[in-house]
Symmetry: D2
Subunit: 381 residues, 4 copies
């Protein structure tokens, strides 16, 4: 397959997420960086884009310039990644979709449900791909879980337990640090902090793995550090459209926890446990049998997990590999789009605008429930 | 110190809990088994008691006979352990306390809040000891957590996360097995199943470690196997009288989890993590520092933990040692009682009737909240 | 079964190993403490024995007094545990065996090979039981490994890797502490330090589990702290009489390791891994399949492991349970001896005098090999 | 800094090691793929090179063509990676060094000691960089270990324990599979199998971390599967030029072990433990203190480890990041070379030809010792 051309908005020099996208997009050689509007400072952005390999004429000063420039080219980029501040996601994603580009947007896709619905509608109309970077769903063993559930290996899923706990906002002395403070300021962060920032990843993974959506939920929010106007810890009970019961705990004050994103799935015929910090092992317990340790790279994994691995068993591919899988899936879909064929359905595992919308709707429902004293609230769709 | 004499009601031959009590009571040589009404079958009970070393005259056919017999002896037992079916705890404990015996009762102490309040009142009036076997609080590193929190090592505790998940009631084909079925039959099990059976241990440990009580809670109960009238999975958000936020998940359908009793405590100055299945390590993370692995038996532990250990570092003492610590603490208190002295306050770490009452009140509140759709409910006291 | 009567020599008040034996012997109610010569100080020893429940006439001042006293009684003790300093094991064990007692001797059974051979010969002639306390072989999952290997689950065992590493003799500033120093003084400790003290446990476990003996070995000894005349670290390659290749590392200077006793067994059809510090899990990897986590207490374990467990799955029984299994096995053998029957062969898993001899022979061979620059040396038998 | 141009020999389409090099070289944007002779089949190689972005004129059919072509260009590649079969490393590396190229050679650098010495000499004379891909030394926490030891954090290092055990050559039924068989055929694999293939990585890491070389060693080799002419398991005791004692176990028949590369370092003042399969945590135990869990990405790490990280704490960068660090270090050295400056010495952590030679000398010594029955053999230098 020929290489696809790729552009990015945001993710400038020194940005971690930008670096992760660059590695992920080029990991398998599917994409070449061709265009970018990488920085809030136009000059810095142009300079960096050139150094990354964009031609001078495709090193843009801002996203509007890039939209104009790329729209008028015959060799326009095949995919645009949006890695700008959260409150700009909607506007940029919308504009590029409407102009006929495929988009991979950082999460959260938008700030409001209405905006998210608009993106979903536009994406549908445009026939373009709109993906949202719930990138942890790209881990091979997350794909394995999804495939095992879809294949009936666990029977009906009764219970899903998701967790994303870290402790990096626990220092009261550091609470006024700008790096931290904006996250608890509704003017900048919106209606939710740790649920939107972290809990949404765990919830997405739960939905992705068991193939269901949240219908109703009951939430408790806490602000453990005085003066915070948004939650730094939350507990959410939920129910899903396939009947599964859900539990979610997320925290930013769990001192000692690093990137505590874990998923447990319990069905009629077995259970699964996975943790992002040790992504190479998946614990599978068939009912009434000993637990088994499934290893990334093992030949006994299902095809969806095998395809998502590059290195031999026992090595770690890490987050680069996980994000890279989203780009690999997008590449296959874009090739199909360009060549009029159909992509292998099993390779279309990237999170979609619908999933981005569902995530935002669930966050809003959680906020409403917490404000209403834990009342069960329906997730709008 | 001279040996104390000990009696047990229930815990007959083949009973696991009875065996654990016998080992625990005699582990440090503090108690000698002297009297018992061990079995629902009087003859079996008498025979087993004699084989365990009771004199023929102290091998009783039932608890009333034992109450009469021991009450009239000058060398009456110093402590009675009640290990009978749950619905008899109240009656027996009450009778023995009123007759002036010290009692260690299995959990739950009673079935209703009113009964539990009565036990608390009787215990106070009688001046006798009334302990409840939340035995996992006897693990040395649980004592360490309690002492660290009490000593201010974590600063104000913001958040406590307790969990007790197992998967041994997950087999639908086994749901009618009498061993399992009674636990989900309100007529036999009362108002709650997994919360009363397992969650109560996790909640007790949270209260014990941080030295607070639950004031209000919001609960979600689920019955994951069709036909169950009581919950086999629950999620509870709570608040405590010292301002701590709490989260509790408990489950009996978590296939692959064995005895998943864990506690995480997060304060202003650090965090703690402990798991009952690997009881010899406590993870302590001082704020902004690397996590440390505290080992049972280490000389850097606090006195409360040191006193609760018998073996050199690196060995496992297990549940026998944990339960044994409750008996050791009771022995010291009984010696003080007999000799008119005062026990070392640090050694009085056994769970009391007040804690038994609190546990029952919390279970009732959780049931009420779950029925009321997650409404926050006050825990009666 | 009626209770057996039990005596101990050594293991006085405050001794950890004495406490462990008392718990282990009485854990299942099989033995009652009846006689003892517990302390180097006769008065202290007598006093402690009485407090532990021995009659005044069976609270002895020293082992010779106990030998005389017990030999002349019709109700002599059924088993004598020898828990005195190492250099007295031979003399006491020999005397009690010759007088017709069953003996459980702490390891090392003797100081020299000649003495060990003498004990083996005497035990055979006497028809009495002579056991040696390689107590870690009593862990249920060690029994499981042994039974799996014996049952052919692994096919021919190609390789066994044993390890026992701790770091408690690593503080140079503490090297002159009497608690540590004697272990590196040949006059007190004999010809070997960490190999005899720790390595021998790992080697015994390897032999026990795979049912073979060491035939030849090549050793490297190191003294990592200046001035030590005996090894504080050793590496040993060995071959066994069933063709298995062996590797052993043992250390007393491995700072951060606690009680690092581990065993790995690799055969044609699978592999096993177990660690004493987490004794409730055994990792079993069938060839070309996922690893499985076998849990103590699981109903899928083999009978030898099931019999060695007391508590439900997920609990920890610890070292008390492991040592208790040796006593349980001895109790069954003694009952058979007394009643003329035959014990269930599967219950005779306690380490024997032959194993004590083999261990000492292997230690001597290792010393000889290390002195000879790693030359392969035959283990005498 | 401007981008450097990079070429590769070997590592054709479908080759895992080739893919890892491509990701690693481009991970930080330091290198652009500019030229290659990627395949034994010239056409396939040229085609793949073009698809990877090389110009048609720099897509070579074999390494000699590439040597000619690049030598005559003014914009010749700044670095050549040699990822061909082992027995060609010497010839190619030698030729490119002599022609003035910088080379990164896959391990083993050569087949014989004489060849390795020649490479070392040529590299010195040429003034070019010659690195060898002991890529696991690029893990951030391996760098942390190295820096801690160099900084005296452990005091004098007494003992280093290295291990690399896997079980992927354990299936006797698979032993004739060409993928496996060549590794045990001296005609193809040379004088050693698992020691050269795996043990050498562990040994290199030990040397790298503690900054010493092996002076003498005693080895035991075993062939656990019948018919194998080379070892599939080995145990090696060694001594280092700074006085450190060493232990190494390596195996290819350890069923259940995946990529069991671990390092333990024990010094006067503390101990360290690290495992490649969980590369984000380093256990550090200061003498007489609790063990600490050092996390990749933590701000308390030393600069050498911080520089080697790209992602926030809690994420995994995996092998791509580790190999990428070697390329990053090479890039800095090449820039210094080109610009006449001096590279930051701390960034020159890539393994050198001297280390490649040392590794080969150690392998030869191990073979000699094993053949001589474990005799201690000096490592030639």
């Amino acid at each position: 397959m020929s290489k696809l051309s790729w552009g990015m908005i945001g993710g400038g020099e020194g940005s971690q997420i930008g670096g992760a996208h660059r590695v992920a997009a080029t990991l398998d050689g599917a994409f070449t960086f061709a265009a970018g509007a990488l920085d809030i400072d136009p000059e810095k952005g142009r300079d960096f884009a050139v150094r990354l390999g964009a031609g001078q004429d495709r090193a843009y000063g801002d996203w509007r310039e890039m939209l104009d420039g790329e729209s008028s080219r015959p060799d326009r980029v095949d995919l645009v990644t949006v890695a700008t501040p959260n409150n700009t996601h909607f506007e940029i994603t919308k504009a590029f979709l409407q102009a006929g580009f495929n988009v991979l947007c950082e999460k959260p896709m938008t700030t409001t449900i209405a905006e998210a619905e608009e993106i979903v509608a536009i994406a549908r109309e445009s026939g373009r791909l709109c993906a949202v970077n719930y990138g942890y769903s790209g881990y091979p063993l997350v794909r394995q879980m999804q495939a095992m559930v879809a294949g009936g290996e666990l029977g009906r899923v009764r219970l899903v337990v998701a967790e994303f706990a870290h402790g990096f906002h626990a220092d009261a002395a550091d609470a006024d640090n700008p790096r931290v403070r904006w996250r608890y300021d509704p003017a900048q962060a919106g209606i939710s902090s740790v649920v939107a920032d972290c809990g949404s990843h765990a919830l997405h993974m739960a939905c992705f793995v068991i193939g269901q959506e949240v219908t109703t939920l009951s939430a408790d929010f806490a602000s453990c550090i005085e003066g915070r106007k948004l939650e730094d810890d939350a507990l959410i009970a939920f129910r899903m459209n396939g009947g599964t019961v859900g539990r979610l705990w997320t925290s930013a004050v769990a001192v000692g926890r690093m990137h505590g994103l874990t998923l447990q799935v319990f069905g009629e015929k077995g259970g699964l446990r996975w943790a992002q910090e040790q992504p190479n092992q998946l614990i599978w317990t068939p009912l009434n049998e000993a637990s088994r340790i499934l290893e990334r790279g093992s030949s006994e994994l299902l095809p969806a997990a095998q395809r998502a691995s590059r290195l031999a068993i026992g090595h770690t591919e890490g987050m680069f590999g996980a994000f890279g899988n989203l780009y690999a899936n997008l590449a296959e879909a874009i090739h199909a789009q360009k060549e009029g064929g159909r992509p292998d359905k099993q390779n279309l595992s990237f999170p979609t605008a619908e999933e981005g919308l569902h995530s935002i709707a669930a966050i809003h429902a959680a906020v409403a429930s917490a404000k209403a004293g834990g009342t069960w609230v329906a997730v709008e769709r």
